[in-house]
């Protein structure tokens, strides 16, 4: 690839980063929200580097030069982003990987925040359910949001994936749904459930980790949220 084409590739990849972060929320499908401004800065640097070097090649003295062939590969992520726009990870990744282990909290957990039902992250619910046997839920209703996964035995789960950095390190967290006929739910549908703690525990068939349960009182289908991963 010659130098002018290299500059154009830098413009494309920088542009793709800006398109994901400045002009949409799509980057949230791939990385943590905290990475946004780093991505904007990186996109801007790549666009500036592409523009300055392209300007110099077009109007400067030097003749075009052959460059590395590997540069062509940089088109792949750009085309994947613009054409396919891969979705956030869903039930396929979760059912392959199984529920992840949840760390024992370092100290006693604070009491539940206010609100009835109280809105909790899936990570918070699973941690309180497994490490405190649901002690902090006594008499409270909680609201959880996630997408549906179903295991081989037909149990339906509300699932959310936690990221540390990017989707490659995503860890699925699952809560079994008690009181919902699984046949009524399709995989990957986003739902919000309100319900109470149920002490039943399941064992994930893939990872052998323990999975807690929620006794569902109401279940609502919702559109996929802009931030698909658990906070």
């Amino acid at each position: 690839m010659n130098r002018e084409a290299q500059s154009i590739v830098l413009l494309l990849i920088g542009g793709a980063l800006l398109r994901l972060t400045v002009f949409s929320d799509v980057y949230l499908r791939y990385v943590k929200p905290g990475l946004r401004w780093y991505l904007v800065a990186a996109g801007a640097v790549l666009v500036v580097a592409g523009a300055i070097t392209l300007w110099r090649d077009l109007f400067g003295e030097e003749r075009p030069h052959a460059g590395p062939k590997v540069a062509w590969l940089l088109l792949l992520p750009v085309l994947t982003i613009f054409l396919i726009g891969p979705p956030a990870l869903g039930s396929y990744a979760v059912e392959k990987q199984g529920a992840a282990a949840v760390q024992q909290p370092r100290s006693d957990l604070p009491p539940l925040p206010g609100g009835d039902p109280v809105r909790l992250s899936v990570l918070d619910y699973v941690t309180r359910a497994l490490w405190e046997d649901g002690a902090s839920f006594r008499g409270r209703q909680v609201r959880l949001t996630g997408f549906v996964t179903v295991d081989d035995s037909g149990t339906a789960y509300l699932t959310r994936i936690v990221l540390s950095c990017c989707a490659a390190d995503g860890r699925p967290l699952k809560v079994a749904l008690a009181g919902v006929p699984p046949a009524t739910l399709e995989r990957d549908v986003w739902i919000t459930v309100v319900g109470g703690y149920d002490p039943t525990r399941h064992t994930d068939p893939v990872s052998n980790e323990t999975v807690p349960t929620i006794a569902v009182r109401t279940l609502t289908r919702i559109p996929p949220p802009p931030e698909p991963y658990d906070r």
Binding site: I8, C166, R171
Partner: protein, 325 residues
């Protein structure tokens, strides 16, 4: 525009090829998108894009530092900053890795820039290995991922610095300079400084970025295909468990700022096996191998990768059995 002669007019240039590729992709958009309709292909595409997107800020940061080293820092600075004897410069470079907050994607172009600036390759390679593993961001992430286990942070730091230094010394003793082949780049010394800076940025970004994509493609493929059950079977064998997680670190190519969280979630494995995961991952994985081959040449990467892998696994086992029992 460059002047076109009759001879060059009929040659297909890169820009024309690039335009043709983009037009072809737009024309065949329908079938291309349809090919990604299966959940496995979509999951692969998501992981591929997320590895590349997540690495790009660190890569750009590394490329900017590398360009600044190449253009604004005189070569004499490194001669003064590092001990003259390479055998002493190696451990200094190992501990100096603490100062670079970033992950492994940034340290490859930086190490390339250091070698160009006349730093002894053994010292630059030690820096390459230690910087992504022992900087404050990574150590804090490790402490957060392993609450109540500060010995894990200590073991990671000690094992990483020891591995980086040991590899540096081994390279000094047995390595040959003609194994390292830096890609040619335009002579920067005759240009205005800022022009040289941006040309260096383009050169490094194109090289490191292209190989990042190679690694991202492979890592995403393995991420989607390696079944979880294999891991559980291996976790029960103490020796195999260490090798399995070291190999997993190579295959998954997770950023060093995130790998501690993944290690923490592999709770069926021993702490020593997980230490090996944390020590090997930032130093050698499929993405890094591709980037190192692109920056230092394939002959280099083929020798360097097994050396680093073996050293890292051995030192992790020793440090793990001392600190993590």
């Amino acid at each position: 525009m460059a002047p076109t002669t009759l001879a060059s007019r009929w040659r297909l240039g890169s820009v024309e090829l690039l335009a043709a590729t983009l037009i072809a992709v737009i024309v065949f958009r329908g079938p291309l998108v349809a090919a990604f309709d299966s959940p496995a292909a979509r999951t692969w595409a998501t992981i591929f894009v997320s590895i590349v997107v997540q690495a790009l800020p660190f890569l750009v940061f590394g490329v900017l530092i590398s360009a600044a080293i190449a253009v604004f820092v005189p070569a004499s600075f490194f001669v003064r900053a590092l001990p003259r004897r390479a055998a002493l410069a190696v451990p200094v470079a190992g501990v100096a890795g603490v100062a670079l907050p970033g992950c492994e994607c940034g340290s490859v172009p930086i190490a390339g820039g250091l070698v160009r600036r006349g730093v002894a390759p053994a010292a630059a390679l030690t820096f390459l290995l230690s910087a992504p593993a022992v900087n404050p961001v990574v150590l804090v992430a490790t402490a957060v991922a392993f609450p109540g286990r500060p010995e894990m942070v200590a073991a990671r730091f000690v094992a990483s610095v020891l591995t980086a230094t040991a590899v540096g010394w081994l390279w000094l003793r047995f390595g040959r300079t003609d194994w390292i082949r830096l890609p040619q780049r335009p002579d920067l010394s005759t240009m205005p400084k800022w022009t040289a800076f941006w040309l260096s940025v383009r050169h490094d970004a194109i090289h490191a970025g292209g190989f990042l994509v190679v690694g991202g493609l492979t890592a995403a493929f393995l991420n989607v295909t390696v079944p979880r059950r294999w891991l559980d079977a291996l976790a029960e064998q103490p020796v195999l468990a260490v090798l399995a997680l070291a190999l997993l670190a190579v295959l998954l190519s997770i950023c060093s700022e995130a790998d501690a969280f993944v290690a923490a979630s592999l709770s069926q494995f021993s702490l020593t096996a997980r230490l090996a995961f944390l020590v090997v991952g930032p130093m050698i994985d499929v993405k890094l191998f591709a980037m190192q081959a692109g920056t230092f040449g394939r002959g280099f990467a083929l020798r360097f990768a097994p050396l680093v892998f073996t050293t890292a696994v051995l030192i992790s086992v020793v440090v793990g059995s001392v600190l993590l029992c």
